[in-house]
Amino acid sequence: MDTQELYVTADLAHIQLTEEEVSRLALQVDQMVAYFSKMSEFDVSGLEPTTHMQVSRSRVRADERRDIPGAHPDILLDAAEELEDRFIVIPNVL
C-alpha cells in the first residue's frame, strides 16, 4: 500500500495521522496486507460467505416501549462535554 492509499484510508476512517505515524504505520499495514494476500492462493469458487453464525430464523421484537434499566436520557446527556438546552453542542465552521 503506498502512502497515498494510506492517507485515503485514514481519511475514510477519520484518523488524523502525523508524519511519524505514517512512516511507522505504513510498514505495519504493508506487512499485514501482504499477509492477507495469502488468501488469494485459496480457490473460493462455490463458497458462500459466512456473515452470520447459527442463524435459523428471524429475530424481531414487538413494537413496544422498552428502556434499558439505568440509562435515562438525562444520564446519557451528562456524558456529553457541552450542552445547551438539552442539545449537544459541537463547534461549527463560521
Binding site: 477519520h14 421484537r61 413494537d63 446519557l76
Partner: protein
C-alpha cells in the same frame, strides 16, 4: 432535441410506536434528546434489536409498489462519518433489500406512465444537526426512526411528473397508515437524480439534487436542473457529475462541496442482526396490511357510483373521507348527492371549523339522514344547508333539528292542496287571468301559497299541483339579445330589439300544448357579439333563481348565433344537472315576417316554438334547439352554409363521436307540432356546479367572479411566425390561463426561436400560468403522436381532448369560480 431522465429516492419515516432498533419512542416535536437510549446514541456495548412492526410496514409498502419481496433481507452497515449519525455507520440494506423490481403508475396531463421501482429498503434515520453561529446543536430524538427508502428508475421526464408521483405516494402511505407523508416535518423526504442527453443517446451525466422539502420544490428544482443541464449541453459543455443542493430561497440549485472519498460507504453485512427471513405468518400479516389504494378506489367510485373524476378525486384524497362517503352510501344515501354535499357544504363547514371529517360531530348516520330528508322532500336544499350548519352547531341529528325548528316541508299533496284551494278561492281574478292565457299570475299565486305555508311548501310539488289545478304549464322564455329578438332597421341592418310577442306569434299553432303558459322576460337588448361578463351574470343568476324556486317547468333562452357556442357551454357547465330543461335557441335573422301573413313562419318563430316544446316535454338539463334539430350544449360550431335572402346557417357539433350531437332532424318539420327528440347527454363531460364556490343566484357575486375569471383568461390561436414574447407580455399583464388553439391534434412550433411558443411556455411554467390546448381543426388533442406534441406536454401544456376552444374557455371560467389555486383549476380542466 434533448431528453431528460429523472429518478427519485423517496424516504418515509414509518409510523411505528418505537424506533427501529431500540425501544425508544419514535415521535416528532418532543424536547431535544428526550427519546434517546444507549442504542440510538451509539453507546459502547449495545446492539440493535429489530422492530417487527417496521419490517411489516416496509414489506406492506414494497408489496403495494408491486415489488418482488425478498424472502431473505439483510441489513448492512453503510459507513460514513457525520455528527448526526451516532454510530458513524447507518444500518441500511444494500445487496439484499426487502423489495425489488416494482412499479407505480402515474398520470400527468393525461399522459400515463409506468415508473419502475428499483428497490425498497429499510434503514435507520439520523439525528438532527442545527447550525447556530459558531456551534452546531445536536438532537438525537430522530436517530433510529425507521426510514424506508424507495428508489425509482430514471423513468420520469419532467418535474411535474415527480410532483405527481410524490403526491400520489404521499396519499398511498397515508392510506396504508405507515406514514403521515408530511414533507414539512420531514416524515417524507425526497432526493432526485437528473440527467439530460440528446434524444436517443441514453442517460447523460447524473446530477443528484438534495434538500427537496416539498413536492413543489421537487418540481421547481428538477425543472431548473433540466434547463441548467440543457443550457450546458447547448453551449457545447459537459455536465459535471455532482451533488447539488436546492436553494429554496433563491430558486436555484447549488453545487455541494464533497470529498470524492466520502462516497466509499464500505457496505458490509450487519453482524449484529440476523438476516430477516419471511415466513408464512409474516407474509399473511403483510397481505392483511394491504388496502384498496387511492387510484383503484377512484376508478371504483367512478364506475360503481357514477361519480365524476373530480368528485371521486376529492373523495378519495383522504382515506377518512372516502370511508365516510361509503358508510353514508351503505346507509342508503344517493352517491351523487352525498358526493356533492361532501365536496361543497360539508367541506366548507369543516374548513371553517378547522375539523376533519372523522373527528367532527357529523357522522355517516347523521349525514345519511340529512340526505334522506332531502330526498324524501321533507326539507329542501336551502333548509338542508341550515340543518347541516345546525348539526355542527348543536351536535344533534337532522331529524331532531327540523322537528325542533319546524323546518319540515309540506310534502303531502292533500295538505298542500288545501292551502292551494284557499289561495285560489281568495284570488279569483288571478285565476281567471291565467285561464285566459296569461302566465304572470302563476308566480303570484305560488308566492301566496308559499306565504300561507310560511315557506314550507315543497316547491316542485307546489309547482306541479298549481300547474294541474290551473291546467297550465309555465315556460319562461328569457330573451337574451341576438337577431332572434332583433329588428331589421330601416337601413336594412339588423339591430337589437325586444322579443316579439310569443302569444300572438304562436296563436293558432296547434302543435303547442293547450296548457302552455309562456312568460317572456327581457334580459337584454343587444347583439350576441356584444355580450360582456355582466350580461352572462344576469343570465346565470336569473336561471339559477328560477331553478331554485320558481313555478317554471322549463326555461328557454333566446340567443344570437354568434356566441351561442359560448353561452350554451357556459350554461351547461353551470346547470348541466338542473332539475328542469334549459333550452337555448337562436336565429340568424330577426322575425321580420308580417304578422298574420300567409308567408311561412320565420326562422326565429319556428326555432322558439321548437325550443318551447322541448322545454315543456323533454329531459332536464341544458340543450340547444336550432333549425328543427337538437344539439348538445358543447362543441357547437356555427357555419354559414347558404347564402341568400335568409342568410341561413346551421350548427354542427365538433368531435361528434365523443360529444353526441343532436339525435338527428326532428321527426317533423319546423312547422309541425312535434318536439325535438332529446339528446342523450350522459356522455358529456361533467358540469362543474354545484361544486363551485359562488352562489349562482347572487347576480353581483356572479358578475364579480366572472369579471375576475375572464380577466385572467385569454384565447390564443397558434399561427406560423407567432411571437412567444407577445404571450409573455400578456402574462405580465395578468393573464394566468390560456386557451391555446393549436394545429391538428395539438401541434405547434416549440423550436428555440422567437417565433415559437417555447419561451412563452417556459415563462408560464415558471410563473404558474396554464395553457389549455384545443385544436383549430375538428380533432382530439391528446399530444399523442408528434414530436412537437410531446415537447408541448413536457413544457406543461395541458391537452383539452375533445373540447373546442369555446367549450374549454367557458369551462375554464366556471372552473375558476371557487377554485383555490391554479392546480385546482387544472384538475377541473383535466376532469372530462
Amino acid at each position: 432535441m434533448y431528453q431528460s431522465f429523472i429518478g427519485l429516492e423517496i424516504h418515509i419515516q414509518l409510523a411505528t410506536q418505537t424506533k427501529i432498533f431500540c425501544g425508544c419512542k419514535a415521535a416528532f416535536g418532543d424536547e431535544p434528546n428526550s427519546n434517546i437510549c444507549p442504542v440510538c446514541m451509539g453507546y459502547p456495548g449495545v446492539l440493535p434489536v429489530l422492530n417487527q412492526e417496521a419490517m411489516r410496514m416496509a414489506y406492506v409498502v414494497a408489496r403495494t409498489l408491486n415489488c418482488t419481496l425478498s424472502p431473505r433481507s439483510v441489513f448492512e452497515r453503510k459507513n460514513y462519518f457525520y455528527p448526526d449519525l451516532p454510530k458513524n455507520y447507518q444500518i441500511s440494506q444494500y445487496e439484499h433489500p426487502l423489495g425489488r423490481d416494482g412499479f407505480v403508475d402515474i398520470e400527468f396531463h393525461k399522459k400515463k406512465r409506468r415508473v419502475r421501482i428499483h428497490e425498497v429498503h429499510l434503514e435507520e434515520d439520523a439525528g438532527k444537526m442545527i447550525h447556530a453561529g459558531d456551534m452546531s446543536l445536536l438532537d438525537y430524538n430522530r436517530a433510529g426512526t425507521p426510514l424506508l427508502e424507495i428508489v425509482t428508475e430514471p423513468d420520469l421526464e419532467v418535474g411535474e411528473e415527480a410532483e405527481v408521483l410524490l403526491q400520489q405516494f404521499r396519499r398511498m402511505v397515508r392510506y396504508l397508515g405507515v406514514c403521515d407523508g408530511n414533507m414539512e416535518e420531514g416524515s417524507m423526504r425526497c432526493d432526485a437524480n437528473v440527467s439530460v442527453n440528446l434524444s436517443g443517446a441514453g442517460l447523460g451525466n447524473k446530477v443528484e439534487i438534495k434538500n427537496l422539502n416539498s413536492s413543489r420544490f421537487v418540481r421547481k428544482a428538477l425543472n431548473f436542473e433540466i434547463s441548467r443541464q440543457k443550457d450546458i449541453l447547448e453551449r457545447g459543455g459537459t455536465v459535471v457529475q455532482e451533488t447539488r443542493l436546492w436553494n429554496e430561497n433563491r430558486d436555484v440549485s447549488e453545487a455541494m462541496r464533497t470529498k470524492e472519498s466520502a462516497h466509499d460507504y464500505r457496505y458490509f453485512p450487519e453482524p449484529d442482526l440476523p438476516p430477516f427471513i419471511t415466513d408464512e405468518a409474516f407474509l399473511l400479516e403483510v397481505e392483511k396490511g394491504l388496502v384498496e389504494l387511492p387510484a383503484a378506489r377512484r376508478t371504483r367510485f367512478i364506475e360503481e357510483y357514477g361519480l365524476s373524476e373530480l368528485q371521486a378525486e376529492f373523495l378519495i384524497d383522504e382515506r377518512s373521507t372516502a370511508e365516510f362517503f361509503e358508510q353514508t352510501i351503505a346507509l342508503g344515501a344517493d352517491p351523487q348527492s352525498a358526493a356533492s354535499w361532501l365536496a361543497s357544504d360539508v367541506k366548507k363547514l369543516l374548513n371553517r371549523r378547522d375539523e376533519s371529517i372523522d373527528s367532527s360531530v357529523l357522522n355517516p348516520e347523521r349525514f345519511a339522514e340529512l340526505l334522506r330528508l332531502l330526498d324524501e322532500g321533507r326539507i329542501h336544499g336551502k333548509i338542508a344547508k341550515q340543518v347541516l350548519e345546525e348539526v355542527f352547531a348543536s351536535d344533534a341529528s337532522p331529524a331532531a333539528i327540523i322537528k325542533a325548528k319546524g323546518w319540515e316541508q309540506i310534502t303531502d299533496p292533500a295538505e298542500l292542496s288545501d292551502y292551494i284551494s284557499t289561495v285560489l278561492e281568495a284570488h279569483p281574478n288571478a285565476v281567471e287571468q291565467v285561464r285566459a292565457g296569461d302566465a304572470k299570475p302563476v308566480g303570484f299565486l305560488v308566492g301566496q301559497v308559499m306565504k300561507a305555508t310560511s315557506g314550507r311548501a315543497e316547491p316542485q310539488l307546489l309547482q306541479e299541483l298549481i300547474s294541474s289545478r290551473l291546467a297550465v304549464k309555465v315556460i319562461h322564455v328569457l330573451s337574451f339579445g341576438g337577431a332572434i329578438s332583433g329588428v331589421r332597421r330601416e337601413d336594412g341592418l339588423i339591430g337589437p330589439g325586444e322579443l316579439f310577442d310569443l302569444r300572438t306569434e304562436f296563436a293558432g299553432d296547434t302543435g303547442l300544448p293547450a296548457e302552455l303558459r309562456l312568460e317572456e322576460i327581457q334580459l337584454g337588448a343587444f347583439l350576441s357579439e356584444e355580450i360582456a361578463p355582466a350580461d352572462w351574470a344576469v343570465l346565470v343568476s336569473e336561471i339559477a333563481r328560477r331553478i331554485e324556486d320558481s313555478e317554471a317547468a322549463g326555461i328557454v333562452v333566446a340567443h344570437g348565433t354568434d356566441t351561442l357556442s359560448y353561452t350554451a357551454s357556459l350554461l351547461y357547465w353551470f346547470f348541466g344537472k338542473a332539475r328542469i330543461p334549459i333550452i337555448l335557441t337562436a336565429s340568424s335573422v330577426p322575425n321580420d315576417s308580417k304578422r298574420g301573413s300567409a308567408k311561412p313562419r320565420s326562422e326565429a318563430v319556428a326555432n322558439i316554438s321548437a325550443a318551447v316544446k322541448r322545454a315543456a316535454s323533454g329531459a332536464p338539463g341544458v340543450g340547444v334547439v336550432y333549425g328543427a334539430q337538437e344539439f348538445a350544449p358543447l362543441n357547437l360550431k356555427f357555419e354559414r352554409v347558404e347564402e341568400g335572402a335568409d342568410r341561413a346557417g346551421v350548427f354542427r357539433t365538433w368531435n361528434e363521436a365523443v360529444v353526441p350531437a343532436g339525435a338527428g332532424p326532428m321527426s317533423t318539420g319546423p312547422a309541425s307540432t312535434g318536439a325535438p327528440v332529446s339528446v342523450d347527454l350522459s356522455h358529456l363531460p361533467n358540469p362543474i356546479y354545484p361544486a363551485a364556490g359562488v352562489d349562482p343566484t347572487d347576480r353581483k357575486a356572479v358578475q364579480a367572479a366572472l369579471e375576475e375569471a375572464m380577466s385572467r383568461c385569454f384565447i390564443v390561436k397558434a399561427f406560423p411566425g407567432m411571437r412567444g414574447d407577445h404571450l409573455i407580455t400578456l402574462m405580465k399583464n395578468g393573464v394566468r390561463y390560456f386557451v391555446l388553439e393549436l394545429y391538428d391534434t395539438g401541434t405547434a412550433s416549440v423550436r428555440e426561436t422567437p417565433y415559437s411558443l417555447r419561451a412563452a411556455l417556459q415563462y408560464g411554467a415558471a410563473n404558474g400560468v396554464s395553457f389549455f390546448c384545443t385544436s383549430q381543426q375538428e380533432a382530439m388533442v391528446d399530444f399523442a403522436d408528434y414530436v412537437t406534441s410531446h415537447e408541448l406536454w413536457r413544457e406543461g401544456a395541458i391537452p383539452m381532448g375533445r373540447l373546442t376552444t369555446e367549450s374549454a374557455f367557458t369551462r375554464l371560467i366556471v372552473a375558476q369560480l371557487g377554485s383555490e389555486d391554479e392546480l385546482e383549476v387544472q384538475r377541473i380542466m383535466e376532469d372530462q
